[in-house]
């Protein structure tokens, strides 16, 4: 039906290609994470908490480019699901340290294993070497050097 539409110009642009690939990867990721009731942003937040016990809201926001008011609701929901707990920060009375609970850790062990399966199944057309190359080139764009 749209086979006669010429998309060759857009396909030369980095932004178009990256966004299209991003949408494909994320939609597959969402399907697989649905069983855990985790959206991509939930996964990122919980994974960072798991790998950085005691991390603060402010740090999460800064790393993930989330605005503080928008994180509040996420954390509230995680607490209600008993996936995280908050403990007073040892030195800063304003801040609160975030930790995964036992069940939060268990969930994230499964979710992270699933994320790797999702990656592999989304990039079936890529060899292991190509996946590593792709990762390296993407990081050259968004990581400072």
């Amino acid at each position: 039906m749209n086979d006669d539409i010429d998309t060759r110009y857009l396909e030369t642009l980095l932004g178009y290609n990256t966004r299209r690939a991003s949408l494909t990867i994320i939609s597959r990721f969402m399907e697989r994470m649905a069983v855990f009731e985790l959206r991509p942003v939930d996964f990122s937040v919980l994974s960072l908490i798991g790998h950085n016990p005691g991390i603060t809201s402010r740090q999460l926001c800064s790393v993930l480019n989330i605005l503080p008011p928008n994180l509040v609701g996420f954390l509230k929901a995680f607490e209600k699901r008993q996936l995280i707990e908050r403990k007073p920060h040892p030195t800063d009375g304003r801040a609160v340290g975030l930790f995964l609970t036992e069940s939060g850790s268990a969930l994230m062990r499964e979710a992270e294993a699933t994320a790797e399966v999702s990656d592999l199944s989304t990039a079936t057309n890529l060899t292991a070497t190509e996946r590593k190359t792709l990762t390296r080139l993407l990081q050259k764009i968004y990581l400072p050097n």
Copy 2:
């Protein structure tokens, strides 16, 4: 401030890397397109119309993954800015063919040149070969084969 946050796990995931790169590229793109008053989606739509004179709304929606109700406003705005014009479809009385006006074409010539500058300046850390490799690998993910 966040130098002590460990993001190594997330940086192994394809979705995370692609999304982060996508956000970087798109934010640079937006800065450069601001002078033309074009958002990324405006650029994509107008570029497709330019390269496919007579394309219909339905085809645009299908190619760009836009839902028909959301395209209506864009086209209305383009028409008001006299960037596009609509002509009756030659064979299908329901459909409307879309075309760039003279000033629409002129704007897009500048905008497309700017898009290429944006690409090059965003990927300064990549060689020409690396850019081609990156494009090829991204297309292996989102294009059917």
